[in-house]
Subunit: 115 residues, 2 copies
Amino acid sequence: MEQYSPHLDVVFQALADPTRRAVLGRLGEGPASISVLARPFAMALPSFMKHIRLLEGSGLIRTHKQGRVRTCAIERQPFAAAEGWLSAQRALWEARTDRLEQFVTATVQNPGEPQ
Amino acid sequence: MEQYSPHLDVVFQALADPTRRAVLGRLGEGPASISVLARPFAMALPSFMKHIRLLEGSGLIRTHKQGRVRTCAIERQPFAAAEGWLSAQRALWEARTDRLEQFVTATVQNPGEPQ
């Protein structure tokens, strides 16, 4: 399993903040400009832009400037990488639970035999 | 959607480090003592313990001391919370893609009608 991916470091880091998660939630409904995205937050624009740059650096969003308007959109691949890592962990536990169940079943059915 | 959960902040923060992800990967195979967990890392024990405490604080692991041995084990619920947040995001995009497809289909079938 790819525990050492520096990409996962920056993706999980980007997700570890409520403002950034809220921006991603909004972008899940469709692309939006920086000014639309910033509106719900009581935050100075330079502070908000730090969040946008961190999201862009993680690959979770892409931005595109046309004239004076910068539009942001979601990028699905890094979400898939994060989900993939989490579901691989779950697969490990489930495999272990299955082995434990097989052991217990075998022990109950053949209590005298060594396993 | 719960963007503001402080719990998700600490869970994603805990996942944003390769040592911590590797520890979680090892614990996915079953509980282990601190000394077994620390073995693969070229790291002083106090530094390693910071990672363990951060993981315990996030709820991703629990630890239990018996005599001089502290054993760590995975806790599944915070993984489920992180996976739940990511899959809720995906549900948003998929709903949007479905609406776009319905719009395009309706436009192709009835090109003259206003949508």
